[in-house]
């Protein structure tokens, strides 16, 4: 499988890079000189050169950001970065069927690429999100989370979903609560309709039922977890 990984710098999404290197014919695009936007216009084929290959020639594209923004040292994105980001997204629009989690990266407003938004959307799919009650005290510099995930580790789980399969981490032989299979199936259908390939959910089993604490569509943070290699393969199919 020919895969292109586009990321903002050499340190960004390193775990995903390692996973993809093991599975695919990978082109890693992490420096501004790796990518050249030759031409993008209305209603015409695009030409974006990535290390001598055309972007349209890949089977799947993982897009984490545009090369040129060092997450470790920069706090603000430059004009050049914003312009490149916009141009690359315009190019990817024409081949969005190749982009992993295109529904998030290309078709969700930046204001809504948040845990909060996905929690609300999942509530509409039958999940029971935990409420939130945060108290900031700026005078003493504290943040109190009145509603917090359960303290006992054995109650915390991470559920990673693709459109066809799912993984319950940490790996366990405990059965998935039978009552939750409907929610999982409904969520997978919703992911397909929203063009989301991969989604991570933080859940806790409380009194026999799952409560949802977080939802994450950031590929680099989901796939840096152990035991997710087969999920990468599933996404690439």
């Amino acid at each position: 499988v020919k895969v292109c990984l586009i990321r903002s710098g050499p340190s960004h999404g390193f775990a995903l890079l390692r996973q993809l290197q093991r599975h695919c014919d990978l082109v890693d695009v992490c420096h501004p000189q790796h990518m050249s936007i030759e031409r993008v216009s209305i209603g015409e084929a695009t030409e974006v050169d990535v290390r001598g290959r055309d972007l349209e020639d890949f089977d799947r594209i993982f897009f984490l950001g545009v090369p040129g923004f060092d997450l470790m040292h920069q706090t603000e994105r430059s004009y050049a970065y914003e312009e490149s980001y916009s141009a690359v997204l315009s190019a990817l629009r024409h081949i969005d069927h190749l982009v992993v989690n295109a529904g998030v990266h290309l078709w969700t407003s930046g204001q809504l690429r948040t845990n909060q938004h996905f929690l609300r959307r999942l509530a509409a799919n039958g999940w029971k999100p935990a409420g939130v009650d945060y108290r900031y005290d700026f005078q003493v510099g504290t943040l109190e989370k009145v509603v917090a995930p359960p303290a006992r580790d054995e109650e915390k789980k991470l559920l990673i979903l693709t459109q066809r399969s799912f993984r319950y981490l940490p790996l366990t032989t405990d059965p998935i609560p039978f009552s939750m299979l409907d929610e999982i199936r409904a969520t997978q259908q919703w992911m397909a309709s929203e063009r989301i390939d991969l989604l991570g959910l933080s859940v806790a089993l409380v009194e026999g039922k799952w409560t949802l604490y977080g939802a994450n569509a950031q590929l680099e943070s989901i796939l840096e977890l152990p035991d997710t290699a087969d999920l990468v393969a599933d996404v690439l199919c």
């Binding site: 490149s84 969700t108 204001q111 909060q116 009650d133 900031y136 700026f138």
Partner: protein, 325 residues
């Protein structure tokens, strides 16, 4: 009751508050700027409601029938306050996206504003005539297409405000800088400008005549001539309504060039219009703000698709020529 969300330091928000008072509309104001000074903040919510408390000011979102929101990140001075702002904006955006109340505008509405080329593609799909446009960071491609003959302009690809500039010999000399960032090149459309605000069912056009190519950089009261005496072609009105419907926009500011030969050519559609500059002109005298008050105080209506008036759209549509041929 209406909730206005934004920064009190911003002129557009100040203008909205002034028009609400002028029209005797009851409202609360959540000033994100107060996060710079406030001592305590509470954020509570679930999948159906959101409650914010900044010191003694309380905002229970489910009690409001309409929202006007201009939300974006501002530097509040400390990492903790910036994190708190980010947290609030995330919850506010997710609430506004899902509530049944009227929202001007929902966060997802007009999201392609940050990708001007994609926005133009969608505008064309709704029946607008659009200028020939290309994005490139290749010196060779730019040199082969763009000439310093007064027929091309250069502008930004993203939502960052830049001055549209006619490509001349001096700008051609700077084309090698494309290797640092791509740029948008667009065919120049002659004629005068029209800024058309769509506010619910209201359409409020403003004709602008300027000696500057980009009238926005002329300066207030310094040479731009404004007039509301301009007829909107039916096909343009239909295209505006289709685009707003498609993008979920209650309020939008469309920029046009009106050329003697091509007619109305759309340049962009702003989903968060900073409309106070136009509304303060004598030709409008607050008409946009008043229309906004009207929309915010109406009962929310379920969005319905505008039926496709295909013959009118087909009559208006012109093929967009490729810059590469």
């Amino acid at each position: 009751m209406i909730l206005v969300l934004g920064y009190s330091s911003e002129s557009t928000v100040q203008h909205v508050l002034e028009r609400l008072r002028h029209n005797s509309v009851a409202f609360d104001f959540l000033d994100f700027g107060t996060l710079r000074e406030c001592r305590q903040l509470q954020v509570s919510g679930n999948s159906e409601d959101l409650f914010l408390k900044l010191d003694d000011s309380e905002f229970d979102f489910c009690k409001y029938s309409a929202f006007y929101c201009r939300q974006y990140h501002a530097d509040l001075g400390t990492p903790q306050r910036n994190r708190a702002l980010e947290h609030i904006l995330g919850w506010v955006a997710s609430y506004l996206e899902s509530t049944e109340a009227t929202v001007v505008n929902r966060p997802s509405a007009g999201m392609l504003n940050s990708r001007k080329l994609d926005q133009l593609t969608d505008l064309q799909g709704c029946g607008f005539d659009v200028p020939e446009t290309l994005v490139t960071e290749s010196l060779e491609v730019a040199q082969s297409i763009v000439k310093p003959n007064g027929l091309w302009t250069s502008k930004s690809c993203s939502a960052i405000k830049t001055k549209a500039t006619i490509v001349d010999v001096e700008l051609m000399r700077r084309l090698p800088l494309l290797k640092f960032a791509p740029s948008t090149f667009q065919r120049v459309i002659g004629g005068f400008d029209v800024r058309l605000h769509v506010v619910g069912h209201h359409l409020i056009p403003l004709k602008i005549e300027s000696s500057e190519f980009d009238y926005r950089f002329r300066g207030e009261g310094n040479g731009n001539k404004f007039s509301s005496d301009i007829q909107i072609p039916p096909a343009v009105e239909i295209a505006c309504r289709r685009y707003c419907d498609q993008e979920g926009l209650v309020f939008a500011g469309f920029d046009f060039k009106v050329d003697a030969e091509r007619g109305w050519v759309v340049l962009e559609a702003n989903p968060m219009p900073g409309f106070d500059y136009f509304d303060r002109q004598e030709a409008l005298s607050g008409a946009i703000g008043d229309a906004l008050c009207d929309v915010l105080t109406r009962k929310p209506v379920r969005r319905s698709r505008v039926p496709s008036p295909q013959p009118l759209i087909d009559a208006m549509r012109r093929p967009t020529l490729s810059p590469f041929r």
